[in-house]
Amino acid sequence: MSLVFDIALVSGLIALALHVVVGRDGKGAIVAFIAFGLLLGLAWVRLAAIDVALTEAAIGGGLTGMLLLKAQAHLASRASRATPAFERNWHVPALFCGAVTLGLGYAVLSFPHPAPSLAREAVAAIDATGLGNPVTAVLLAYRAIDTLLEKIVLILALIGVWSLSTDNAWGGASYLRPAMVPEPLIFLARVLPPFGVLIAVYQVWVGADAPGGTFQAGTILAAMWLLVLLAGLRAAPETRLPTLRMMLAAGPALFILVGLMGVAVAEGFLSYPPAIAKPLIVVIEVALTLAVGGTLALLVSGPPDRAPKP
C-alpha cells in the first residue's frame, strides 16, 4: 500500500513539473511550482528525511514562491506582455534532456549493493556532541565548516542583490507593500506571526534531539517578517543601518569565533571542547537562526528601491 502511495506522489510531482514547463500563463506556473514545493515536502517525508521535508516545505513552498510571485508582478508591469513560444527546434534539447534523464535513471538503478552509509559513524560519535538528532550533528558538529561557508554564501548573495540597486537607492529600503492592502491580509499579518515565532522557537528547541533546526526556524521567521512587511504594518529597515548589518554578520561571526576558540582549547578549527559542546552548539544555533531569518527575508525583499531618508 505504501508503494502505491509513493507512486501517486511521484506522478503528482512529475505532472506538476510538466505543468510548470508547458503552462502558458506565468503566474499559473508559479502557483504550480509552490504546490510542487509543498508536495515535495511529502516526498521527503516518504524518504524518511523529515529535516529535509521541513526545509523543503518552508523554502520551496514558501519563500521561493514569494520571490517568484514578486518578480512576476514586477515583470508583468514592466516587460512586454506577449509570451513568446518555444523555439521551433525544441526537439533537440528535449532529446538531450531525455538522454540525461535516462542516464541518471540508469545510475539510480545500478547503485552499489550494500549501500554505502555513514549512518554508523554518525551515530557512533553523537554522544560527544550531546545532540540527539544526527542531521543536526552533521550540520553543526561533524561538517560545521559546510554550514559556516553556506552562511557566508548567503551573505555574499545578499551583497550581490543589494549591489543591483540604482545609485540613489543604495542604502535605502526595499518597497514590498502592494498599492492596496486587502483587509484579510492585515488580519493575517497580525495573527499569524505570533504562531510562526512560536513554531520557530519550538523548531530550534527540538532541533537538537528531533527533526528541526536553524534553517527551518530561520525560514519561518523570515516568512513571518515578510508577511508583516507585506501588510505594511512595519516599514522595511534601511539597508544602511549599522545595527541591521551587524545582526546579519553576527551569526557567521560568532560561528568563526567559536571555531577559532576550538583552535585554542580543543583539537582544531571548529572542534568543540566536549564538556561544553552542547551549550556551544545551542548558542550558535540561536545566533544563526536570527541571522538566517534576516538574510532570507532581505533576499526576498530584493534590492533597495527607495532612496534613504536624509
Partner: protein, 91 residues
C-alpha cells in the same frame, strides 16, 4: 490499523490531487491559487495520517509548517494583484 490509515492517507492525497487538476486547469487566474490552499490542508491531513500510521510524531511538525506556509503563499499572491491588469478569462 497502520495499513488502513495509510489507505485513508492515499485516498486523501488522491482527492487533493484530483482537486489540484481541476483548479490548475481552470481558466480563471485566481482559482489557481486555491491549489496552494488545497495542498496545504490536504497535505496536512495526509501527513497527520501517515505520522500516526508510522508512529512518527515529528510529521505533525511538518503538517504545522505546511499549513503555516500555505497561508503565507496565499498572502504573497496579493503582490502585484493590484498592479497587473491581466485578463481574467482566457479563451
Amino acid at each position: 490499523m497502520a495499513e488502513s490509515l495509510t489507505t485513508v492517507a492515499l485516498f486523501v492525497l488522491l482527492a487533493s490531487a484530483a482537486g489540484l487538476v481541476v483548479v490548475l486547469r481552470s481558466r480563471i487566474a485566481i482559482e489557481r491559487l486555491m491549489a496552494v490552499q488545497l495542498l496545504g490542508t490536504g497535505g496536512a491531513a495526509t501527513l497527520l495520517l501517515l505520522g500516526t500510521a508510522s508512529a512518527q510524531p515529528a510529521l505533525t511538525d511538518v503538517a504545522l509548517l505546511l499549513v503555516l506556509l500555505s497561508a503565507f503563499s496565499c498572502a504573497a499572491f496579493t503582490l502585484g494583484e493590484t498592479a497587473s491588469d491581466e485578463p481574467d478569462e482566457r479563451p
